[in-house]
Symmetry: C2
Subunit: 410 residues, 2 copies
């Protein structure tokens, strides 16, 4: 009997969110709605995999087409995300079994997991354990990360918009510092995210400023101030010193003995003052850079939507344990298409900025890097505004009635 009704979908957001992760959700849900004969209901985990484990599911079918459409221009994770990594199968098989139990209870046949490399690892394992437990489940990854560090794919949805934010902010702050440098601030340091891979710091280079890393950047700062009157530094939160220690953890403590709160931005700024006495300012963009939907890249929004759409189409074609990837056909003019990669090739890999993208002195980006980055920040995709503020949507978030008697504590 049940075999005749189409299987339901579970969609879940994972890890740090972005300006366009909801555009991927929009792509998944709108595409699924176009195939009602083959796909049943689309549920979303409330707070991602945590909602799946605790059977806290959102019925996206209760959301209007306008709300789903509005996800395309709404930042953050509309269904809630989670920093929650499932342990290895050998270590915590109970979690995976619980997932399958929830899937079975809600007739879930498709699991779309929207996240980074950890999440692709989880999705891969879920597909394996489902088969082992006699409950085959189609697991498709949907790439997302502002860090741009996923393997195989040319770029990651979320990165282009964060990169555009950083490039625009760096250009704007650069004009500000240039104005002030004669009598006041000479050095401006912008700390950006990107973990260890450094892609977001490289994006600062698009504005014409310098990506910088300790310990040998002081001479370059001096050179810039003496030549141009000012210096703008874009520094990654993950920058390390010559000994491999994070600069942000370089032993600075406050008066109470706590580790230095601040990121590396203020540390780097103070280094220039100690060396040369330059007046400095610094900014830490933090969440602002990854939630700045108001300055999203049009290319990024389109790609985020496209990978969500492709995930559903892959599932309908009978594919499993794969992730749609962005394939670059040409940089100028920029042309791209959607390809596919096995989850096993993505899981737990980390793609760093290649050495030939960084100038020999370590402080700038090369033409090759610029060719790679520029298309990704291309075009604007402004959200609608009301009374001066972006009109972002909020979901109703209606819960799916629980079917399991057993609670599960995460």
């Amino acid at each position: 009997m049940k075999r005749d009704t189409p299987k339901n979908v579970l969609y879940a957001q994972s890890g740090g969110v972005s300006a366009v992760i909801n555009a991927s959700a929009c792509g998944v849900i709108e595409t699924a709605r176009k195939h009602r004969g083959k796909i049943g209901k689309v549920y979303a985990g409330r707070h991602g995999i945590v909602g799946a484990l605790t059977e806290d599911l959102i019925d996206t079918g209760k959301e209007s087409p306008a709300t789903i459409r509005g996800l395309r221009h709404t930042p953050g994770g509309a269904f809630g995300s989670a920093r929650y990594k499932l342990a290895g199968l050998d270590k915590n098989r109970a979690q995976y079994e619980r997932l399958i139990e929830v899937f079975r209870a809600h007739d879930i046949g498709y699991f779309f997991y929207n996240g980074g490399n950890d999440s692709m690892d989880t999705a891969h394992k879920v597909s394996q354990i489902g088969a082992q437990m006699g409950y085959p489940i189609v697991c498709i990854g949907v790439p997302k990360t502002v860090d741009n560090d996923l393997a195989v794919t040319d770029c990651c949805p979320g990165f282009g918009s964060a990169a555009k934010y950083i490039a625009v902010a760096t250009r704007e702050a650069g004009l500000d510092v240039l104005s002030m440098a004669r009598t006041s601030t000479k050095v401006f340091v912008l700390e950006v995210m990107g973990r260890h891979a450094g892609w977001l710091a490289a994006a600062g280079g698009l504005a014409g400023s310098r990506a910088s890393e300790a310990p040998h950047f002081l001479q370059k700062v001096k050179f810039c101030v003496e030549s141009y009157g000012y210096c703008v530094v874009v520094v990654s939160e993950g920058v390390r010193d010559a000994d491999g220690k994070f600069l942000a953890e370089a032993g600075t403590k406050d008066a109470f003995g706590h580790a230095q709160l601040g990121g590396v931005g203020p540390v780097v700024a103070q280094m220039t003052q100690e060396a040369f006495g330059y007046k400095f300012h610094w900014a830490v963009a933090d969440y602002l850079q990854r939630s700045a939907r108001h300055i999203a890249s049009k290319v990024d929004v389109e790609q985020a939507y496209a990978v969500g759409k492709a995930a559903v189409e892959f599932a309908l074609k009978g594919k499993n344990a794969v992730m749609p990837v962005i394939v670059r056909k040409s940089s100028s003019p920029y042309r791209w298409t959607i390809g596919e990669a096995p989850l096993s090739a993505i899981a737990n890999e980390e793609k760093k900025v290649p050495r030939n993208f960084i100038t020999p002195d370590g402080f700038g980006i090369t033409p090759a890097c610029r060719r790679y980055l520029l298309p990704l920040i291309g075009g604007q995709d402004y959200p609608p505004y009301a009374k001066g503020l972006p009109r972002y949507v909020t979901i109703k978030g209606a819960s799916v009635p629980k079917r399991l008697r057993s609670p599960f504590v995460v």
Copy 2:
């Protein structure tokens, strides 16, 4: 002979720049160009009053109409600004006499000074000393400050765009934290500028978040996290503790004994962690908030242009020692016009956020505050883009040949 040729203009930018100070420059220069019979050349001080003192003047006549038009959408101070306050007349008469000497050498009849309350004081004194020295000079102030703390005027050009940036960023980061709060970040603190007046922190309230001040905000953070799952705090760099000390200077030192670098943002964030163990993130917008032309308020851009235009028109009408002000005719619908105020009423005054704009608990903005603020962030005025980045203009900055033999050291 010389009396028959129209007098020249000196325009100078002063203090911290903004996303729209160049729109005021555009208003001054475009309006002056329309009255060539009555106004001669328009010079700009390179780095403001420093350029005037050192006879380092830019001939804006060498800039194309397209460049001048482009100033309307270009952030920063295109001619250079300066943090340089002239001392009192009694203390440093030589500076004022030097200014008049430069004005006389270049046949300057009009001095337009684009800045905050310090600058209005300077402009006022220049008009007085010119008259005393037998070189009458028309001095008109052009208001500018993201701090919104000038007296008489309903608002200050520069504030609306910074307020819009903060309101948008707070709304966006709020969605981000809400997504993450289940398993990760529960408290997000955004530190904003605004010196002592608090206007920019109030703008965070437009996003629906809480403006907060120590020391009694901890209970409120706890209440928000327990009620809503997360808390977003917008805090002014100028916030003080119960003893009147700046929180950012509250005695925290790093391991080398240096004063705490960071602003108040990280301090406030850590207070919440120490009290309740909440995971936090914080951002310091710094120059990003005042240079963010990409998200400028359309109302702000129009007002910035209008005060520049009005300054020239006031001069042509024979007014002196005055400043154009924004007069609010109605909040809803928003209607405004340009009025005038004597420089003496503006100089060195500081307009703080009125008590009835802040909720009784001190953490939010009242409906009256919202009514005041909302129109100021109204409308978008996007700059043109090329290859994904705003196309901001750069002036040629041709120097006016020097006529004085004496150098002047500032």
